[in-house]
Symmetry: C2
Subunit: 235 residues, 2 copies
């Protein structure tokens, strides 16, 4: 982790923090910090800065904290993602959090296996855990918003047009479509399909909602590669 994330409840005074649990273990076992060391800290949904470790033992760490640095901007993006298989979901939640996606819609699709919706990794606590790991990796403090939509058609027909209004709407889809644009300057709404891709009916419905199909070349990428590749190309 490249940033130690703090919450309001960690503070015992205006600039003094006490840590226990996972973050304490990580500081001791992985980062191997000692009293006197400084490290990057950030307040969840707040500023970043430096923390000086004033005391450290197996039960707690105490830090003096100075928060004076702004966090990196989010991307101007709403990302729609067909629900990936559970193992990939965990990694992708970390990825979108690390890369600065402010809003992710996890969406059903014909090729999403029904069992994927049963995974415990979709619980709010499990989602939050992966998002926090992404923030710690990238040095950001602001959690993305995650929206879960188990029904494709009502979401795309009734809610997506308003969500995508005023943005460049794109559906990533292999085929004879225009290339995905580069370095755009406006907000984007981007839909990425499941392994096996969207079915034609879904591409049509997304297009009616304002999302034009674009492609990334002849190679078919896994979702975990398509997401960073499309974000890096677009922004």
């Amino acid at each position: 982790m490249n940033l130690l994330l703090l919450e309001d409840s960690d503070f015992i005074s205006a600039n003094r923090v006490i840590l226990q649990g996972r973050r304490l273990q990580h500081l001791r076992a992985v980062q191997r910090v000692e009293a006197g060391d400084s490290l990057r800290v950030g307040l969840l949904d707040g500023l970043m800065g430096e923390g000086l470790i004033t005391a450290l033992d197996e039960h707690h760490a105490e830090l003096d904290v100075r928060l004076d640095a702004v966090v990196p901007d989010k991307l101007p993006l709403t990302l729609l993602l067909a629900l990936p298989r559970p193992k990939m979901l965990k990694r992708i939640l970390q990825t979108i959090s690390a890369m600065g996606v402010p809003r992710l819609v996890l969406l059903n699709s014909y090729r999403v296996e029904k069992s994927f919706w049963q995974t415990p990794f979709l619980s709010p606590e499990a989602i939050r855990e992966q998002l926090l790991l992404g923030l710690e990796q990238a040095r950001d403090t602001v959690l993305p918003e995650i929206i879960i939509e188990k029904r494709f058609k009502p979401f795309v027909e009734d809610r997506l047009p308003a969500l995508a209004a005023g943005s460049l709407g794109l559906t990533g889809h292999p085929g004879n479509y225009p290339d995905c644009p580069r370095a755009v300057s406006q907000p984007v709404t981007l839909a990425i399909g499941p392994e096996g891709g969207w079915i034609p009916y879904e591409v049509e419905l997304l297009e009616k909602a304002g999302l034009q199909p674009v492609q990334l070349g002849a190679r078919i990428l896994r979702v975990e590669n398509a997401v960073p590749a499309l974000l890096a190309r677009l922004f």
Copy 2:
């Protein structure tokens, strides 16, 4: 898998193939094909095309094969990568193979843990297995070349200048450097560091060998995201 990869030894005549083992199991259990089905096939290091399944049981599959389609171009890139931890190495080998990297140098660095060099995933058979999975994912037939360099300094000082000659040399490194360029038209030699980054001495040595440091923004990405992000931005 989006492509069934064949080898010369699978052919019993000019356009007839018999399969057993892993690929047979995958056809039956995952793709659930039946006699009469057609699927995409490719000859390792050769053309792609269609295969018609003429017979299928638990012991073998027999296909009539027509190979008439060229494979997608590789990227004009030599990628230098500080050896990642074993679990990530497997995924990254698949990624670079799928994304069309023709040559990968796995390199030592100060922040590469020595134990990483002991992993069985560095054996030629294990590397080849991951590369094949990447080709099957992306629909390509040509294996990338993998070069293993356990000593940073002799490689960067003695071999890298010739390897990078005539290409745009870049080192991905967070910091106050120019942005990574977009959509370049010339060949590229790109070095991506370990978790924790290159140390300054390494950045200097890479620069002397012709690789200029460039950055991807304030966010620190995991190597598995930095690779697809940098490739998508560069090409």
